[in-house]
Subunit: 138 residues, 2 copies
DNA sequence: GTGTTTGCAAAGTGTTTGCAATTTA
DNA sequence: TAAATTGCAAACACTTTGCAAACAC
């Protein structure tokens, strides 16, 4: 055994999520999950797959990212209108967004903490909380 | 004088920002700023203007919203990919976003406070900080 | 075999842009 | 009248969808 994988194999992830481990989904899952936390757009993932010799259409990349998000494997992060970012870390955490480059970055550890939660309007519940700290070159 | 305006007149705002007070910009500025804090998309503002008898093209609404944002009259809030929201309160504050209805709402007062700011990557500065609390019907 | 998934191309959103006509200063 | 602004339509960027062919179980 050469490497220690932090999580299960891609096949197991897909099975656990009830998604058939097709060639395309497996390849995308490996790209997404085998290198730790990633922040990626559909175009980026498609390019990576293609350059890595994986034949998959852009439409399938979109569909797959959406499916993965639905089953909780990914989290979608809203940072700018017009482009969807997906985060392989689906647990609660926050982000830097580089407005110059479009790069999305985890904010390490607990260095941002919300000191209190607001009162939520009547009959509503809180879903996700997104904190995006926009940064740019000095 | 019938009403007390919390801020200057639309004309003055535009002049102060170095934008010519054209018929379209004046009408849009009134819709945006005369009723206090608003959260609005280009489509919504265009519909409002049209229904209120103001003739203005959707393209001009987009251009105007972008110009207003550039000069600091508005703030753009990223809440979901694919749609831009503009906030007439350009000062630092946070938002509820109703995932069911697409409605964007100020979080009142200081009920959310970031207890500490993260260390920013080398040679970078913090621009805006967006906190979006997603809510939905119970 | 049967139901699922894929790829393609077409369609769908939301937004920006080129340019002639209009408006503003 | 010179420069800025507008409206229209076309272009754009990103994403979704319909459907026949390919695939997984």
């Amino acid at each position: 055994m050469k490497t220690i994988r932090p999580f299960t194999h891609a096949v197991d992830r897909l099975n656990a999520a009830g998604l058939r481990p097709t060639r395309q989904r497996l390849a995308l899952a490996r790209l997404l999950f085998e290198d730790g936390n990633r922040h990626i757009t559909a175009e980026q993932l498609h390019r990576e797959a293609t350059e890595g010799g994986v034949k998959v259409s852009l439409a399938t990349v979109y569909n797959t990212l959406n499916q993965f998000t639905e089953v909780g494997l990914l989290r979608e992060v809203a940072v700018e209108a017009g482009r969807a970012y997906f985060d392989t870390n689906a647990t609660a955490h926050h982000h830097f967004f580089n407005d110059d480059t479009g790069e999305l970055l985890d904010i390490p550890g607990d260095s941002v903490v919300l000191s209190s939660l607001p009162d939520v309007p009547e009959n509503m519940v809180i879903g996700a909380i997104d904190v995006v700290v926009h940064i740019r070159n000095k």
